[in-house]
Structure formats: structure tokens, C-alpha cells
């Protein structure tokens, strides 16, 4: 008797795994994110879960990765979702080239695919003959907003440095290009540009050393807020109050720093809503709406203490 119960339970859960999309009427959306160890994606997941509860007319299945570059498990996740027969896959690709082929297979299986956060490589898409819109923020534009705020304050000829994200990561690249555009527009003097791999402690160390080499710098553009915190701490221990810092992401920890002027600005790309908004777009397409095209830009906003 007990055995039968277990068997029944097992059968039910297998059925659930195999695709409850047919069993229930609600469409199933598979959400694939990058590292959940990253605050940004963690918040995004929370936002998506709330969104599922609020809308109540779809079923969310979310997966995250071990780390930022773990694209193999993203490929596996796509394949699993194809097997499960989900109605839509909403994905923040860990690699803009490697993910094109598995997503093409998903589209061929009739699944609505929404690419958000990081855009798939245009060249790779063309090669595979894939037409896919991108839903996401303009990282370069966002970085330029922060860079411009710095440039406006400091004026032409001011010496600045850039603290970059992981070399090779698309968003790191875009943000660096955005900062560099500000440097050009405001005729700033870029004295050094180095990576601190998105991390506070490394940014603290790297920036202290840059400051020793170039004591006359006036501004710092950090590609994320975690690194900006490291820079601010380095400035505090060096006793320098004359150097202006801007960051990116608007994580809660920089709130107090913006408020008391230790940081000039950061950029909010509303990560919490980004997955939820992409799911909305996916559900519209499932409901028979038109396919998305080109770049659906999501909001970004400069955050200052004004």
C-alpha cells in the first residue's frame, strides 16, 4: 500500500517534470539566468517569482548557473526545457556566441525565445540564420550617463581612471566603451584602465596602487558598484576627499555612499523588473501577439543624491 503511494507520487512528479503544460492550461515559461551568486540575478529571480504570483496566469521554471561563464549548464538547461516542452524560454545568455545554436533548436521546436540582459552576437545569429530580438538595457548608454555626470562635474582635461569588469564579458565591454565615450566627449584624460573582476577587495587593492602611481587623478569610473565600494574605501584610507567616484547597478550598499557624497552617481537598470518584463513580452507572443524585432530597450536611470 505504502509502496503504491510512493509509486503514484513518483509517477506524478515524473509527469510534472515531463511537461505539465499540457496537463494544466497555464503556459510554462522557462527562465534561464546567469550566476545566482550575483546579487543582480538573485534580485531578478525574486522579481520574477513575485511576478508569477501576481499575474497567476503562467507557470515559472527558473534555473541559474554556478558562475558567470558556465555556459555548458545553460546549454543543458535549454535542452531540458525543450524536452519538457515549455511554451517560452527567457534567457540571459552566459555566452553570446555559444548559446545561439541551442536557442535555434528551441525555436525550431516551436518555443518562443526571448533573449534579455546580454545580446546574442549579431554575427553568430546571421551565420545560424536566426532572427531573434533582444530585450535589455543599454549598458553602454548607462555607463555613458555615469561618465557624463563625472565629466560634467570635473571638466575638460581632468585625469580619470576606469575600473573594468571581467575581461571578455559583454556587459563589461559595453560599460567600458560607454565610459570611454564620456572620456572623449568631455575631453577627459584617461590615465589608466584596469580590471578588478567585479570584486570589492580586488578593486580596493588595484585602485590603491593606481592612486600611488597617479596621485593627481580626479575621477574614477567603476563598471559596477561592488568595485566602486572598494574604490571608496581606498580613498578613505588614503584620506583623499577630492576624488569623485561613479559606479553602476545601484546595489543597496551604495545607497548611503551616494547620500553622503562619497559617490557621485550610479546607474539603475531595474534588474529586479528585467526578467519579469521579458516574461510579459514572452506571454504576449504566446497569446498570439506579433514577434519582437530588433532591440527592445529597457529603462535605465542615473541615480544621484539630487
Amino acid at each position: 500500500m505504502k509502496f503504491m503511494k510512493i509509486a503514484a507520487a513518483a509517477a506524478t512528479s515524473i509527469a510534472l517534470l515531463a511537461g505539465s503544460a499540457q496537463a494544466e492550461d497555464k503556459p510554462v515559461v522557462g527562465l534561464i539566468m546567469k550566476s545566482l551568486a550575483n546579487e543582480f540575478f538573485q534580485n531578478m529571480l525574486e522579481g520574477a517569482k513575485e511576478h508569477e504570483k501576481k499575474r497567476g496566469d503562467y507557470e515559472l521554471r527558473a534555473v541559474g548557473m554556478q558562475n558567470e561563464t558556465d555556459f555548458e549548464s545553460q546549454i543543458n538547461a535549454v535542452e531540458n526545457f525543450i524536452t519538457q516542452g515549455v511554451d517560452a524560454i527567457v534567457i540571459a545568455p552566459a555566452d553570446s556566441r555559444a548559446m545561439v545554436r541551442p536557442l535555434k533548436r528551441a525555436m525550431e521546436a516551436g518555443i518562443v525565445v526571448i533573449n534579455f540582459d546580454v545580446s546574442l552576437d549579431a554575427e553568430a545569429k546571421k551565420q545560424q540564420g536566426v532572427e531573434l530580438a533582444f530585450v535589455g538595457p543599454d549598458n553602454r548608454g548607462g555607463a555613458k550617463l555615469a561618465g557624463d555626470a563625472l565629466g560634467e562635474l570635473l571638466g575638460a582635461g581632468s585625469k580619470v581612471v576606469i575600473i573594468e569588469g571581467n575581461p571578455g564579458a559583454d556587459n563589461a565591454n559595453e560599460r567600458r566603451l560607454g565610459f570611454e565615450a564620456s572620456v572623449e566627449d568631455y575631453k577627459l584624460d584617461l590615465v589608466d584602465s584596469r580590471t578588478a573582476h567585479w570584486e570589492t577587495e580586488e578593486a580596493n587593492t588595484v585602485f590603491s596602487n593606481i592612486l600611488t602611481a597617479h596621485p593627481d587623478i580626479q575621477g574614477v569610473m567603476a563598471a559596477n558598484d561592488s568595485m566602486a565600494i572598494g574604490v571608496v574605501k581606498a580613498l578613505e584610507s588614503a584620506g583623499r576627499k577630492d576624488i569623485t567616484v561613479v559606479g553602476f547597478d545601484n546595489i543597496p550598499a551604495v545607497g548611503p555612499m551616494i547620500k553622503d557624497g562619497r559617490m557621485l552617481a550610479t546607474v539603475d537598470q531595474f534588474g529586479q523588473d528585467m526578467a519579469a518584463n521579458s516574461i510579459d513580452l514572452a506571454l504576449d507572443v504566446i497569446a498570439g501577439g506579433p514577434q519582437l524585432e530588433g532591440w527592445v530597450k529597457t529603462p535605465i536611470e542615473l541615480v544621484t543624491n539630487k
Partner: protein, 332 residues
């Protein structure tokens, strides 16, 4: 039995011999060469501020490397220290931001929490790898994942911030331009030196690294000695967590990724043998300096990030190859 006394007397007499002096000075000379090189080729290297910076920057790695020295001396390895540090920092971060307590209370509570977290992780590493005689490489690799997962779980992947002002003060305090956190690390080095050289426990750790069976046959509780070495390593990860928090004023669950490799590099560059039984914590101190001076100096010179990474790798390999010849030379 005879072999074991051999081991003990050999390493003790070595300590005062001329050869051992050359042996130890070898790595010190390498550091000196680096310092001279950077002093000549960069403008700011010998600035008081830059030296303060270097001392601050090597502190966490030095503390981790001191604990790592114990584990490597017994022929083990601990890959979990970076993750354990993050876990300890997150637990302490939760404690220090508890509402409704006084400043002193939360700081003490946080320190206690960090040290306990490190202690427990180290103890588990030691007990599991020693009881079943399993390679510590794989057990601590498991702990690397457990501690990292626990850090993310406890913090819900959020950076913890807003620590009491007094705690920040400690992180940036100086005595005659020397960061207090570095002095903490230095005290740990001296303490470790005393334990390793002046106590029976310490000498037996060398013995275990050279010939575990001999020490066992001599009737010593090898199991507990090995557990103690791993526990010390865990403890230093807890202490490193406190320094991390005081210095940066945040607890991040993704802190310390790859720190274990830097700590191992400091120990090995410092002349401690990866197969155990030979080495010293003073060497580790110099090894940590070499890594720190290199990281600092190469940025001052203006070398690109990628070149910097390559050169650091080259230096690690050169140090170990040189050490191979030094060991041969010393054994003659």
C-alpha cells in the same frame, strides 16, 4: 623510532646552520631584488604611503598563508580557505548588523562568529580527511563548495553593509604608518613560528610531513595532530574574514574566490615543500611579500593586466624551480 628522532634533530640543527641561513636568505634575496628593481624603475614604490598600501594589501593573503603552512607541512592542502573566509564573513556580517545590541557587543559577537565558523570548517576538513585517510585535496574541494554555498545561502547572495564605525576604525588604524591589521598578521606569523619551532606539537607536524608512519609508531596521536593543523588553517580563514570586513566595511558572499591559490603560492614561494615536512612560516611571510610587491610594482610600472597575470605565473614557477635546486644544495 630512530627515523623519527633523526627527523627532529635534523630539522632542529638545520635551523642554526649556515646552510639553512643561505637557504632561507635565498628567497629573501629574491624579494630584495624585486624591491630594488621597482625602486629604480618606478617613482613611487618606496613612498611611505605605498609601503603602507603593500602591507595592507598582503595582510589577508598572509593570514591565510600562515594557516596554509601548517596544512602543507603535514603534506596536506586546503582548497577551501577562500570560501570559508567568505562564509565566516557573511555569518559575522549577519551578527554585526543585529539590531538591539551595543556596538561593543555586536563587534565581539561578530568576531566570535567568524572565528567559530572558520574553526568548524577547519575541524570538519581535518576530521574527515584524517579519519578516513582521504586526500585533503578532494575533501577541502568539497568544503570549498559547501562553504561558498552556505555563504550565499546565509546572505541570500546580498552584500551585507552598514557596520559600526568603531569596526571601520580598526580596519584603517595605523601605528607609525603600519596598518594595525598587518600587525595582527605579523603576530600570527610569530605565534606560528613559535608553535612550529619551539613546541613538541610543531616539531611533530614536520615529522608527520616527513614520515607519518614513524610518528605514529612512536606512539603519538597523529590523527589529532592532523586535525589540529586543519583546524588552525580554518581559524586563520575566520581571522582573515574579520580583517576583510574591517578593511572594506562590507561582507560579500562572493569574497575570496581564488584566495586559496594565492595562499598556496605564498607558502610554496616561501620554500615550503608541497609534499610536506620541509619549510618555514618565515618563508611564507616572505612569499606573501613577493606576491604583494609584484602585484603592486607591476601596476606602478604600468604593465597591462594580462601581462601582469603572466609575469605573476612566471615568478611562481621560477620560485619553485629555484627551490628545487636550493633543497638539493642544502641536502649535500
Amino acid at each position: 623510532m630512530a627515523r623519527q628522532t633523526d627527523v627532529l634533530s635534523e630539522s632542529r640543527s638545520n635551523e642554526f646552520s649556515l646552510r639553512a641561513l643561505i637557504n632561507k636568505a635565498g628567497i629573501g634575496l629574491a624579494l630584495l631584488a624585486l624591491i630594488i628593481f621597482f625602486s629604480v624603475f618606478t617613482e613611487h614604490f618606496l613612498n611611505a604611503n605605498n609601503i603602507t598600501n603593500i602591507l595592507t594589501q598582503i595582510t589577508i593573503n598572509l593570514i591565510l598563508a600562515v594557516g596554509m603552512t601548517f596544512v602543507i607541512l603535514i603534506g596536506g592542502i586546503d582548497l577551501s580557505v577562500g570560501s570559508v573566509m567568505a562564509f565566516a564573513a557573511v555569518v559575522a556580517g549577519k551578527a554585526i548588523t543585529l539590531p538591539g545590541f551595543g556596538t561593543t557587543e555586536v563587534i565581539l559577537l561578530a568576531c566570535l562568529a567568524a572565528i567559530t565558523a572558520g574553526f568548524v570548517c577547519g575541524l570538519l576538513n581535518g576530521v574527515i580527511s584524517s579519519y578516513w585517510a582521504l586526500p585533503s585535496f578532494i575533501i577541502t574541494l568539497g568544503m570549498l563548495n559547501i562553504a561558498r554555498g552556505a555563504a550565499l545561502q546565509v546572505s541570500e547572495a546580498q552584500t551585507i553593509y552598514s557596520f559600526p564605525f568603531a569596526f571601520e576604525e580598526f580596519g584603517s588604524a595605523m601605528i607609525y604608518g603600519i596598518p594595525v591589521v598587518f600587525l595582527v598578521a605579523l603576530v600570527l606569523v610569530l605565534l606560528a613560528w613559535f608553535i612550529l619551532n619551539r613546541t613538541v606539537f610543531g616539531r611533530l607536524l614536520y615529522g608527520i610531513g616527513n614520515n607519518e608512519e614513524a610518528v605514529r609508531l612512536a606512539g603519538h596521536p597523529v590523527f589529532w595532530y592532523k586535525v589540529a593543523a586543519f583546524t588552525i588553517c580554518g581559524l586563520t580563514a575566520g581571522i582573515a574574514a574579520i580583517v576583510y570586513m574591517a578593511r572594506l566595511n562590507i561582507s560579500s558572499p562572493i569574497a575570496g574566490i581564488g584566495f586559496e591559490l594565492n595562499a598556496i603560492a605564498a607558502v610554496i614561494i616561501g620554500g615550503t615543500s608541497l609534499s610536506g615536512g620541509r619549510g618555514s612560516v618565515i618563508g611564507t611571510l616572505i612569499g606573501a611579500f613577493i606576491i604583494g610587491v609584484l602585484a603592486n610594482g607591476l601596476i606602478l610600472i604600468g604593465l597591462s593586466d594580462f601581462m601582469r597575470q603572466m609575469i605573476t605565473g612566471v615568478v611562481i614557477i621560477i620560485a619553485v624551480v629555484l627551490d628545487h635546486y636550493r633543497a638539493k644544495f642544502a641536502a649535500k
